[in-house]
């Protein structure tokens, strides 16, 4: 059977199609990274403040999010909603799962950041009359943030790439779009190169900004 006729060459308009898909990858990643980071910081603070009790409760839940492969979480969660009578779009389901996945990863980082600030330094700020929250805001946050910024950047870059897995739900982000185009044009090399360039363009600001902050924060 000759099916060559259904294949068409890569066209300029396909670039627009990919750009739109890149926009979706960007959207879902920005949502997951921003909300997930805020949640993760709160979780990290709870873990650090409650120690053993936190490890035994919240810590276990977060470990589940961190250890079950994201693709399994996505499929389970997406199929869970119809069971309880809701229908959610792949975008909503994917975003929610990605937010919790990110928050679990960030929680570990944030906890490390808080624990990186020595008890002695915190005693010093409290001895000046700072409240618990002032110590957290003016000492623990900036000192801890500097300590874990590279780890956070690693999480953010990872989530950006992992967002490709949301394609299993049928959400047409970069990876899914590239598969569609590859099937049509039979030009995997060209398309994957273009898609790789898109991913790089999306990651570049994260690595660039964090690297710059790290340099600025070298305490001298």
């Amino acid at each position: 059977m000759d099916s060559v006729s259904v294949f068409t060459d890569f066209q300029f308009s396909d670039l627009g199609f990919l750009a739109e898909a890149a926009g979706r990858t960007l959207l879902i990643s920005v949502l997951a990274i921003s909300i997930g980071t805020v949640l993760g910081c709160v979780f990290g603070w709870v873990l650090s403040a409650t120690r053993l009790a936190g490890d035994a409760t919240l810590g276990v839940i977060l470990d589940i999010f961190r250890s079950v492969p994201l693709i399994i979480q996505l499929i389970l969660f997406y199929n869970f909603f119809p069971i309880i009578g809701f229908n959610v779009s792949p975008f909503v389901a994917g975003t929610i799962v990605l937010i919790f996945y990110t928050s679990a990863l960030v929680a570990a980082v944030a906890r490390g950041g808080i624990d990186a600030v020595s008890i002695n330094l915190r005693r010093a700020s409290r001895s000046l009359g700072m409240t618990y929250w002032q110590d957290l805001r003016y000492v623990v946050w900036p000192v801890g943030l500097r300590a874990v910024l590279p780890s956070w950047a690693g999480v953010a870059l990872g989530v950006l790439k992992d967002s490709a897995l949301v394609s299993v739900l049928g959400y047409v982000e970069l990876l899914r779009a590239s598969q569609i185009l590859i099937t049509r044009t039979q030009e995997p090399f060209l398309i994957l190169t273009v898609v790789g360039a898109f991913y790089f363009a999306l990651s570049f600001p994260i690595s660039r900004i964090t690297a710059r902050l790290e340099r600025r924060w070298q305490y001298d």
Binding site: A124, S127, M130, Y138, Y219, D220
Partner: protein
């Protein structure tokens, strides 16, 4: 004045303070000496409520430090503390290190708190280091920064916990000189120290801690030069 009455404190099974009584008058300098583990640091932490006590009372200017309704954050403004580790805020310049608490705790304006910071840094001899980050300074300079940072709150009392112990020997002098200066200015000070010479020269009274009790308390001429306690003599023979 600081009144410590029958203070006891344990960490788990280990009783660290076994009934401490001590009254510190305004303007007085008391040096606290004693072996490692005798409870000296713990005593200081109890005075500004960084550690809770099990029984007894600590009253500072009429305020019961460990009473349930005491605002410890407010109390601590009046009790400066400097630690063995200088604990500079690493992300702030020296000026910002000192200006932070006056601004956020006392609510002073940015300009006013910077002015206070300038004055206090000048006071401890760091006038040429305003815009330097702590990591660029020696231990002695960072310790003087910590002193300036505490003084910026204009406390009535200063607690010093072995502030020279982590310093290279050649840097000890500059920090002790700063302490001397404060005592001459009339600051009320509790100084935990292993510098027996300093304790003898500067303090009004010396307290010798031994296993959670004050074994001996009196003027340096008595405790350091003419101790009647076998324990104190043995300790002094070892540290000298």
């Amino acid at each position: 004045m600081i009144e410590i009455e029958g203070v006891r404190k344990s960490f788990g099974k280990l009783e660290v303070l076994k009934g401490i009584d001590l009254a510190v008058d305004k303007g007085e300098v008391i040096s606290i000496i004693g072996a490692s583990g005798s409870g000296k640091s713990t005593m200081l932490y109890c005075i500004n409520a960084l550690e809770p006590i099990d029984s007894g009372r600590i009253v500072v200017d009429g305020v019961d430090v460990h009473a349930g309704d005491t605002d410890v954050n407010k109390l601590r403004r009046n009790i400066g503390m400097v630690f063995q580790q200088w604990n500079s805020f690493p992300h702030l310049t020296t000026l910002e290190n000192v200006a932070l608490a006056p601004r956020i705790v006392l609510g002073k304006s940015r300009q006013e708190s910077t002015e206070i910071a300038r004055k206090q840094l000048d006071h401890v001899g760091l006038a040429d280091k305003f815009d330097v980050y702590p990591s660029r300074m020696s231990g002695g300079q960072q310790q003087r920064l910590a002193i300036a940072r505490a003084l910026a709150m204009e406390p009535s009392y200063m607690l010093f916990d072995e502030v020279t112990s982590a310093l290279d020997p050649e840097l000890v002098g500059e920090v002790l000189d700063t302490l001397r200066l404060l005592s001459e200015e009339g600051m009320t000070m509790l100084v935990v120290t292993h510098e027996i010479g300093f304790a003898r020269d500067v303090s009004d009274r010396v307290a010798y801690f031994h296993e959670g009790v004050i074994e001996e308390l009196g003027p340096p001429a008595q405790v350091i030069e003419n101790s009647t306690s076998e324990q104190t003599r043995r300790f002094l023979a070892n540290v000298r």
